[in-house]
Symmetry: C2
Subunit: 252 residues, 2 copies
């Protein structure tokens, strides 16, 4: 049994707590929160602490706080030479304080409070200073997910940028499509099967193989008609993405 | 029983043929193809014709050819005052020749030869000159799909642009994310659960509610780090989409 404590009370902390609560291989010891209550349910044997000095022994401390608070929290830990991991996609391993053995436990997923996720499908990106720590990290991750990857800090930085394209920017394109629908009295519902199929396609084909549309087939007449139809920032985005597909679509 | 003939032998024609083959409400009479063979299987009672002059009587002729060929094919039809629909997202109803009663039967989906689709989930956008024709069109569409919409030509034009954002451009962002992964020796697999969840989220939440990331939370430090990390066209796209989320993310 691996004893894990979680430091933080946000979205990622909450999802980790509920994932560990379902696992037989991990015992959740405590959750640290500055606040008196948390938005998620703690498993029976785990306690909530408000004072870092009261943290009990654990095999692994997972810091799940906002990126900017990781360094400070890791420095404030009142113990030495224990295994401490952060969950940030953007922070390097080195951001953690020298007092403890450093690691990263980064679940690559978009978490929101209002939507449950199946942790088994979530890739967990792992990094540690020492091989023995990496093994413990991997056993911990395998307790909640089928997908674990050894990803170093340079790779994780790249991965986070890739995730911004695949998640944040993609969602913004959905938002633009939604806006165009609303401007013409059509429900966003009408696009949902297309959105689902677009994502489903790249589960089987590479994005290059899956690419279709006016830019891919260099249909200049349709492109010109679309650009004439659009205005403002939607037109600019249409233009730059069309150009990118035309220039780089084959290379991708 | 509605008698339908399909004119064309491409992707859309093939998917329509296999959808109608499964329906009890529609009888597929014939498929017209310029070529001697087609890439898809014809149902037992349907025949393949190569000469427009040999086309038999049908309640509805669906022209499923490339956008540029719609006008010409509709003009070449050797009969008058029958119901003829095209399947194009970009062409107006009026592109069809005056000889026959005009309609549009536009399935809003991305079709590829290598991936089967479930037609029941595909929205079919319908338009007709006359109410009685619209009713027949709707009965035909309902025979293969649970989702039918009355969409006029102006709306369909907007919808096609929205679909370019939700499908073609989204897929290109997947391609950029794939490229970033490969540049840093990471498999595209690692992003697939995120891509699936990003699409799944907007089935329940609006894109505005689902939006996360550095641009949405105005995390200028991360944005600057990402822009310094990227180069070339990927940097330009990062910049314009970040700016768009910052300026218009709330409005969307």
């Amino acid at each position: 049994m691996i004893n894990v404590s979680i430091i933080g009370s946000g979205n990622v902390a909450g999802h980790l707590v509920s994932a560990f609560a379902k696992s037989d291989a991990v015992q959740l010891v405590e959750v640290f929160s500055r606040r008196n209550s948390v938005d998620f349910t703690l498993p029976e044997n785990a306690s909530l602490v408000h004072d870092l000095d009261l943290l009990q022994d654990a095999d692994l401390y997972i810091i799940a706080v906002t990126d900017g608070a990781v360094a400070q929290i890791s420095e404030a830990l009142p113990f030495k030479n224990r295994l401490v991991a952060h969950t940030s996609g953007t922070m390097p391993l080195e951001i953690l304080h020298e007092n403890n053995r450093k690691a990263v436990f980064y679940p690559l997923q978009t978490f929101s409070k209002t939507k449950a996720v199946n942790f088994l499908d979530i890739p967990i990106c792992l990094e540690a200073q020492f091989p023995a720590d990496f093994q413990l990290l991997e056993r911990t991750a395998r307790a909640i997910s089928d997908k674990t990857y050894a990803i170093n800090s340079a790779q994780r930085k790249a991965l986070h940028v890739a995730a911004v394209f695949a998640n944040n920017f993609t969602n913004h394109l959905y938002g633009i499509a939604d806006e165009i629908c609303r401007e013409h009295q059509m429900p966003f519902e009408i696009l949902k099967p297309l959105i689902a199929e677009t994502a489903a396609k790249v589960m089987q084909l590479s994005p290059d193989e899956a690419q279709t549309g006016p830019a891919k087939r260099n249909d200049l007449k349709t492109i010109a008609a679309h650009e004439a139809f659009l205005s403002d920032y939607k037109k600019d985005i249409y233009h730059i993405l069309t150009e990118s597909i035309q220039n780089h679509g084959k290379k991708l």
